[in-house]
Symmetry: none
Subunit: 218 residues, 4 copies
């Protein structure tokens, strides 16, 4: 029956989702080698052998977590980008979604940041490519901004791409109790745009005003 197939497929992907989720939590808190496959299997309520049916190895499972979430994040950001609209809107949307995503998947985010500084093996795991895509999206927005004249000429797009992502990461690390978290985003956008913008526009948009737009991936 087709329902059979569907149910099986559903079960399989459900299982993958579950494994990725519990593994994320474990890998985020402990070091790669502190996490053992038995733990993952137990918490995911599957046999250890099942892990090896779904993932080639522990390494593969680990990188699959990053690939899995990073791919979804990129899809979300690609959807939000609109070449016809103005740069500031795109930029705000980008920051907003990035922040939302990392709030939604804090475990994944910490894993990703740990791996970011790795020098080897990136090519093999396919993660380097995904990171490039992500950087590309931000870069594209800044380049558009430069053309539209909303970003100062002296701002090298590649450089401020990295600086922006660093700022977002800084925001993540700042204790949540400082003001409301949402306030942080507003500050970040304000600082960034005052810092790089030509100043021709009013950028401040309250977090709450936009929150209705980001239900998509929750």
């Amino acid at each position: 029956m087709s329902s059979d197939t569907t149910s099986k497929t559903s079960k399989r992907s459900e299982k993958i989702e579950r494994i990725i989720t519990v593994a994320s939590e474990l890998f985020a808190d402990r070091d790669y080698h502190q996490v053992c496959m038995d733990d993952i299997a137990e918490r995911a309520n599957v046999g250890k052998g099942t892990l090896y049916n779904l993932f080639e190895s522990k390494q593969d499972l680990y990188f699959s977590i990053i690939r899995f979430r990073l791919t979804k994040l990129i899809k979300i950001l690609e959807k939000t980008y609109d070449s016809r609209t103005d740069t500031l809107k795109n930029l705000r949307s980008l920051i907003l979604h990035l922040h939302k995503f990392m709030s939604k998947h804090p475990h994944f985010y910490r894993i990703w940041k740990k791996e970011e500084n790795r020098v080897d093996q990136d090519s093999r795991s396919g993660i380097g490519m995904l990171q490039q895509q992500l950087y590309g999206l931000v870069l594209k927005t800044f380049e558009q901004g430069e053309k539209q004249g909303v970003i100062r000429r002296s701002m090298e797009p590649e450089l401020i791409t990295h600086i922006l992502l660093g700022m977002i990461d800084g925001l993540r690390k700042s204790p949540e109790t400082v003001y409301r978290r949402e306030r942080g985003i507003d500050v970040l956008v304000e600082v960034l745009m005052s810092g790089i913008g030509t100043g021709g526009k009013e950028l401040k948009v309250l977090y709450e005003e936009r929150s209705h737009a980001i239900k998509a991936y929750e």
Copy 2:
């Protein structure tokens, strides 16, 4: 006799320095568990047993790297901070020295960043405390700035402390080939001060003009 003792003491600290250095390189490139004590001992030209005379355990050796460098970094930054001078100068100096230090010790820096996201064991290792000190230095500067009126009221000091450190980290990740690296610092300072400042002053200072001030720890 006394020369013997001196020589031994000298040898001891030399050995520690040497071990920290080679261990930094190993831990930066590979994962914690990919680095084994045999490797460290061999590269440091000491016996494996000696490592255990100088450090309690592998963990201790590992965290000692971070403590060792972080302590020095904090000392440097403390020296540069001058409560009588104005905020902008202090801020510039802070960023400059941070950047210099991380250029000088890229291995350490990558290790530190990897550990930054750890939640557990920080208290035991004593690193959390050092990080707090470091944040405190930046925070103090921002708070001073707020009082002096060079930083907008809306800028929460704790928040922009994290954002600033994130920006510096972003700068580190951006490919070196983009402009000169020094240019990056100028952009960062410019963005930051335009972003958070009240705008009453000219902030742009060319990198070269200041370079004479940072020979201290080279």
Copy 3:
């Protein structure tokens, strides 16, 4: 209905034959534990579960190969033995058929030889018994020969039984390129009979002359 049953029965024995054959090849080339049930199932075009319907376990499947072929070999040798005819003819026939069989089933032969030295579990697997039957056939021939006076008294039948089987195995191992393989048999018979015989008869019989007699099991 009955044709159904027939077809199923037929399929069953066909399947067993097929499994035994592919498993023989696998077990001959690799070690017991290098061969996995998935491999066997795949090559035999059956599901893994089917293997467990037809054989109790992997061990059972393995020993079934030996039992299966050894039983057939014994049947062939029993047929050729004729108590009314003279010893030399029986002996020649024995060697000839043994050699033919092992040429026909080289995979099985190598497996058998590997297992020959096992001390444990033989009773359980039922293979020890079959080997005893086979030795018994050779033994009987030598004992007959002793009675008939064609074999020297000093030749202990049990001893030369083992020596003969060892010689055949030695022949198997000798590189095929040495002369023709058939020549090897002639030499073996010649050596054996000169060695154990009383010398009253001419024993040399060319291989080709006898080849018509061994089509039975081809």
Copy 4:
């Protein structure tokens, strides 16, 4: 001290000897994969890690057993071979020592026979080469015999080399209770020489008469 060095070296080789011995017993009785490193370590009274200090891997340990004994066997046989003496003496000596050795190391012998039929990996393990050396020794003796005219022309040396080794293996398999074991050797020599010889000499030599000559490696 030199005694230190000696003692250490001695301890090391003693340990290797002990491990080889207990491992031989285990590998002879059970299959390669039924034997686990923990068992070997426990029976040899060493830690598991020590096994890995002395042998690269389980495979290496396994093949080392064969290499270790085979090398010694070849040395013994090389010593006994004397090109100036006559073939029959050399042949007798060869058989005698082979048989003695295999009585002394029955575990090793069974392992060796199991491996003899392997097709792969021989080159890597270096065992194929040793076997060739052993065959070469026997072969050389037969070739010498042919030249001296004590072996019939029709006897292809390579072929009877394999047949001889097969006979010895057959002798090994024959139940020990049949006569005395020593009697078996006499029969074997008798059968072989009557079978392949030109018959110009008396070959029978009682086992006991020669037994004084084989104390060397006991």
